[in-house]
Symmetry: C2
Subunit: 363 residues, 2 copies
């Protein structure tokens, strides 16, 4: 199996080390912070790299700003046959590398779409990439063998390899990740002006819509600055109907407002409908069975155990804590065909349930 050098042992680097070790790679680790390096070694992500040791593949998993200089150095020293990184932006590191005179066939960018808001080697796991997309982004000069080496690592880590150009990657992530982050933050920021007793009245809608706003300002500043063109374009596409709506509201013409809101919400439904399926499957609209529970350990387990006895597969769960009450509502998403069976099964075990979207609505 190939030898692999992982530079930077945060969540990403350590998880790659763990997954590659499990797949039989001979993994070496490099990290400036001695404590983090020791931690990554201790959890079994690999052994420390001796400068000068040459590897088949190097993965740079540092913060975005440090990526290009590190890649340039590894290529210059011929420390690795192929070099990649794992940033959520691709064009910027490629451009930086070119200006460092380091762009050659041995480099190919990549981005495992996994990990979310977690960080640090203590949160790493060998299964982080299982079934996740790992985007592989060749430069115009990447050799086929470099691309294949990076793609093989991704596949060996359990990921689904999807190849696209750096520009395509950055446009896609701007829409799927960078824009939603900015929108969630701006929406959450509007809550700061409300008095406490009023904020406490917030329901699940605004909670879901602002969940991303928990993310780190520093990391996102770095990501957005590294992808300005694609973020600008996604932001403009997002803002355009809202600016139109603002102007329509200013005309105080109720017919025009009604038309503008109907169109906006209908367009949103169309976009949202494209999200609901899994990878490569038709989108599915789930039915929802909502159940009242007490807010205590064991209640959720009992509910799902009772649900399991009905044989209906629970596809998604949402827990909605009612403000000011020791009770909550748990929404179980199931296939429309199974909703009625689940509902009846839960009712017979004493749960209070309501159902929407069942194939055969209860009348």
């Amino acid at each position: 199996m190939p030898s692999l050098l992982v530079v930077g042992t945060g969540l990403m680097g350590t998880s790659i080390g763990l997954a590659a070790t499990a797949a039989g790679y001979d993994v070496r680790l490099d990290e400036l912070d001695a404590h983090r390096l020791a931690m990554a070694e201790a959890v079994g992500a690999g052994h420390r790299w001796a400068p000068g040791e040459r590897v088949d593949l190097a993965v740079v998993a540092t913060t975005p700003a440090a990526v290009a200089p590190m890649i340039a150095r590894l290529l210059h020293d011929d420390a690795a046959g192929v070099v990649t990184h794992v940033c959520s932006v691709q064009s910027k590191p490629e451009d930086d590398l070119e200006s460092l005179d380091g762009l050659d066939g041995r480099f190919c960018g990549s981005h495992p779409v996994a990990g979310g808001e977690r960080s640090g080697p203590g949160t790493a796991t060998s299964t982080l990439f299982e079934g996740r997309p790992w985007l592989v982004c060749p430069t115009p000069v990447s050799t086929p063998s470099s691309v294949a080496t990076v793609a093989r690592l991704a596949a060996d880590c359990g990921a689904d390899v999807v190849e696209m150009s750096a520009a395509e990657h950055d446009r896609l992530l701007a829409v799927l990740s960078h824009l939603p982050q900015l929108v969630a933050s701006a929406l959450a920021a509007t809550l700061t002006g409300l008095p406490d007793p009023q904020v406490a009245l917030a329901g699940t809608g605004v909670r879901d819509t602002t969940r991303l706003a928990d993310s780190s300002p520093g990391l996102w500043a770095e990501i957005v600055s590294a992808n300005p063109a694609a973020v600008t374009s996604a932001l403009q596409a997002f803002l355009s109907p809202l600016l139109e709506l603002r102007d329509t509201l200013a005309t105080a013409d109720p017919t025009a407002v009604t038309a503008a809101v109907s169109q906006l919400v209908a367009d949103g439904q169309a976009g949202r409908g494209r999200l609901t399926g899994k990878h490569g499957q038709q989108p599915v609209v789930w039915a929802t069975v909502s159940v009242g529970v007490r807010d205590r350990a064991g209640q959720l387990a009992q509910l799902l155990a009772d649900a399991a006895t009905t044989g209906v597969n629970v596809e998604d769960i949402r827990v909605d804590h009612a403000p000011g009450a020791p009770t909550g509502i748990v929404e179980l998403s199931v296939s429309p065909d199974g909703a009625d069976r689940l509902h009846r099964g839960l009712s017979s075990r004493g749960w209070t349930a309501t159902t929407t979207g069942a194939a055969d609505p209860r009348t």
Copy 2:
């Protein structure tokens, strides 16, 4: 107990009928659609109203546009001692009522914050309002006894009564509900331009942020048109930092972009931090224990059953389906103090878990 007339037997009206019947009210039902009326009667929400019968309290639970004329008629006919409605906008019905010459002390607006995206009498339940806020909005001329009658119905239905003016209500709901809806719709609409294989790469971030976009265009057109001033103001507050960011991105000054994004994301964190607590409690930051599961009936139940044996209370659950794989990640939110105990308990039962935000980080 008082006699109650419910006009309109959709989800709201039928649920009020069920809850009030359970609380001992003598409930009468009125509904234009004979099928819906029969359904509401059949589920036990009350008995059909004979025109001319006088009640102590009437609740108008029709679509927003039909509310004011119906209230005016009930007051004109002296069919009820007190009349209220249950719309998610308050000033518009009040103004409409005034222009119909129907505003007097017997009217007091109200809005139970419950029900979400469900609709129809088949989804009604007597527990819909338990522990939920029910906003009571007196007009300047509502008599204290009218306000008390409406508040008593809300409390008898199990809701938490919160009194505020119609203007205050409309400003609050614009921020907590109407704006998030428009934002989620506009964000989801940006997905319509992506090719299918790319949309399939979407993660939980964009899914959570666009969940509200499933809502009905017609209903939302009616709500936003009825609350134009407050929606305009909330929309402007939301758009302002994003327009600034767009302009900053146009300057191509990386330092300025970094500063603008940091500020926006930090402001979002601050707003989001105010949401995480429950009614009247301090906000809590949960630790997250993430566990890999197979996507099958019973797995979730087994996981939560194993979690329950640790005695750690699971506060929230999120199921993240990995695209293209039969596995998924379940995120369990627990108190930072309990995260480590839960993690060890699950690991000892064979689950693969990672933890973030624990009080005592694993090293």
